[in-house]
């Protein structure tokens, strides 16, 4: 009978590996997994060329950049330090555009964030597959429309002469209202349009998360006498809480993206007071007014605030026991 060797494996005299050993190990790893490293080169190049290299352009926020000099202008344009940032902060519209950006984003977050969750919860309870699919399809189709088309639809529906909403107003004996020209309606229109366009698309992710919840939990809850609402509250919602947390972090990170295209296509001087956001301001001054350095400074300012918001949201998520992004 063979003797069973019960001794511990011999430890190499070079354990723990020396630095040169580590290097060789890394090389061996690279050789072994070269196929995977090669595969990742193109995506990495993509991020490097299209995402990280353009970031060098932020240097123009601290210069009086001459666009004719191209990349060369990055080191030959006169350095002006924080002048453009100071000009932005001194602008008569500084607080207005910051306020509008946060208010419009906040409203979209307040109404737009829970809406897909509620829709997903409702759809999750629908037993007729045909009805469920039909509602899903109808609700997420608007997501695929370009904002230009959506803005055209909104304008047509809200116009004074022949617009659907004003026809309803007339039907009830009211006078037509030029909705898009009144500040009191404008933000509501923005939020309503976003809800209509994104609610179905947003629900897809939550529905997918719900499908991963163990069905036995529902069966057990039913046996304990829980009704559908209690099941949704105590099983479904906690089951998708991690997705909600991640989505919330992303939403807060994007809080300063209040919907540039949508506002640009719908606003006019009469509603600037409630509609002018950081992005429309940058567009008017930067691209239309050709103040590229000033616009870059405002854009950089916005990015820094967004980064702070995202870090803050991530910390809060971890604090309440959710995984967070990092």
């Amino acid at each position: 009978m063979d003797q069973i060797d019960l001794s511990l494996p011999k430890i190499s005299p070079s354990f723990p590996p020396k630095k040169s050993g580590q290097f060789l190990e890394t090389l061996r790893g690279l050789k072994r997994d070269r196929f995977y490293y090669l595969l990742i080169i193109l995506p990495l190049l993509y991020f490097l060329v299209f995402r990280y290299l353009p970031m060098l352009g932020v240097v123009i926020a601290f210069q009086d950049y001459d666009p004719f000099l191209g990349i060369e202008g990055f080191w030959t344009s006169p350095w002006v330090g924080f002048t453009h940032f100071t000009n932005f902060i001194k602008s008569i519209f500084f607080w207005r555009i910051i306020g509008n950006t946060l208010i419009i984003s906040g409203l979209k977050l307040l109404f737009g964030f829970p809406a897909p969750i509620i829709l997903a919860l409702l759809l999750n309870e629908v037993r007729s597959t045909l009805f469920k699919r039909a509602v899903q399809n109808i609700s997420y189709l608007p997501h695929f429309l370009s904002m230009v088309v959506v803005a055209g639809l909104v304008r047509s529906m809200l116009t004074v002469q022949g617009g659907l909403f004003n026809q309803i107003v007339r039907l009830f004996g009211g006078d037509p209202i030029a909705f898009l020209t009144y500040p009191e309606y404008f933000r509501g229109i923005l939020v309503g349009t976003t809800l209509w366009q994104e609610i179905g698309w947003g629900a897809i992710l939550y529905l997918a998360a719900m499908s991963t919840i163990n069905i036995e939990l529902y069966e057990a809850a039913a046996m304990d006498g829980a009704n559908k609402f209690q099941q949704a509250l105590n099983i479904t919602l906690p089951g998708i809480a991690y997705v909600i947390a991640i989505q919330l972090i992303f939403s807060i990170g994007g809080l300063l993206n209040a919907g540039f295209e949508q506002i640009l296509l719908l606003y006019s001087p009469g509603v600037y007071g409630v509609a002018d956001i950081i992005d429309t301001y940058v567009y008017r001054n930067g691209l239309l007014g050709r103040q590229y350095s000033f616009a870059a400074a405002v854009g950089l300012f916005k990015s820094l605030i967004a980064l702070l918001l995202m870090v803050g949201a991530n910390r809060v998520a971890k604090w309440v026991g959710q995984p967070g992004l990092w």
């Binding site: 002469q161 001054n285 050709r290």
Partner: protein
Amino acid sequence: MTSKVSRRNFLKTSMVFVGGAALSACQPTATAAPSAAPKPGATTAPAATTVPVGPAPKVTIWFPAAPCGDGSNAERLAAVKKVIQDAINVDVNGVIAPPGTAGTEKLNLMITSKTEDLDVFEGDWSQYKDLIIPLNDLLDKYGQNVLKAFPKDLWGTMKDSTGKIYGWPRGFTYNHTNKIWFRTDWLNELKLKMPETIDETEKVIAEFKKAKPDSVVLTSNHTDLMRCTLGGFTEFGYSSWVDPKDKMLKPYFLQPGYEDWLAKMVDWWNKGWFQKETFANVDIRAQLKTLNVGVYPGWYSRITLWWEQIRADGNLTKEDYGFFNGVKGPKGFAQSVIPSGNSAYMITRKCKNPEAVIKYLDWVLTGVPKDNTNSIVSAYGVENTDWKWIDKSKGVFQHLISECGKRYDGQLLLHKGYPEVYWLAADASGKINRHQEHIYKYSLDFSTGKMPVDFDVPYDVAAIRKQFPGLNDFNTLIDQELVKFLTGQRPLTQWADFIKQVQGAGLDQWSQLYTEQFRKYHPA
């Protein structure tokens, strides 16, 4: 049988594709330019020894507001290019601009782009001063016909205070653009005469509203409304003015009488006369199509071009618009003349062949105003194919191809205003184009509008902005608040608060900087 792709084979194949793509990307563009390839029997000697005339230098022109949207028929465009190339050996090309602010956006990107050609574009030269080249030497050397083609006062507006010429005039001083148009068929139906004063205009609007409750007053925007009517209430109309108290230049809305005008317009608004979206990027074309627009104080081409098209499409023979040339208010002419200001065609700093641009322009303007043939070629195509003379001495010609998609759409054009004022075009059926007839009749008559005080001052806005970074904000504030007053969102009782707001936004700085430039041309 199934085949399995090994890692090695996968990588080999990938490398072949990547390598191939890299090689093709590094290829010279010979395939894109077949003319560069040697023809059978030709030698491979340098082009200069085989081609009698050197290669045609390329010129690229920005072409906004293409009448047909998509631009020219390719064959017709090629024919016009050939005429130009045969005459002066310049390869002229046009870039069709997207409409609206997207066009401005694209233009600003193209002016500075390292990869896209753009040599000539139009706009306010003072705003682009850092991006364009002075033309004095080029004009002296290659542009004698250009110098002769425009009046001296227009050349004056193309120069900075040191005498450098930064462009050639685009357009001219406008008095034909802002009229108060009325539905003539409604006037006839209600037995009303064409209004000649603001008071009569009000009466007509009221009568229209009584007889046609859906009728509205429509305007392009509040600026056009001011250009059409403000002169009737203020001494200088829609113009900056010198305040006699401190001899400083002030913005138009501070002049005596402006509040009266505003009160009148608010009254019109409160009576429900204005179309409710008229100050909010209203779709003028769609509104004209409703046939409910009784009065239109606004930009002329909406009637002479858009309305004409609506009439033609809808076969509307009875419905039409007309105007009285010289409507007056309590303070005189209601209309304000629009100075040509700094509106110019300019050559970009990155242009490789500026002399070719001026040579082409000089060829276009050869013979003007007596013989406009070349300028019409650049605008409408080849003589006797795309158009023909009806009366050359009067500048009347006829289009032979009018249909979009079949015609040359003018995308090699680098002039507007002059020499167009000397032409009159008839369409293929022999009918004179309403738009051109309007320009021909009214463009050189400045007797029915108020000339702005600073019509001859080419302000260097870029220099002003350097000292007053909040200039854009200042202008935005004025625009948005005036619209609020006009639409009743802000009561007129807050006018004094508005003035304080404007002062807080930099009114004194505005006044000081604009006065400094104004005084270079109008010493105190």
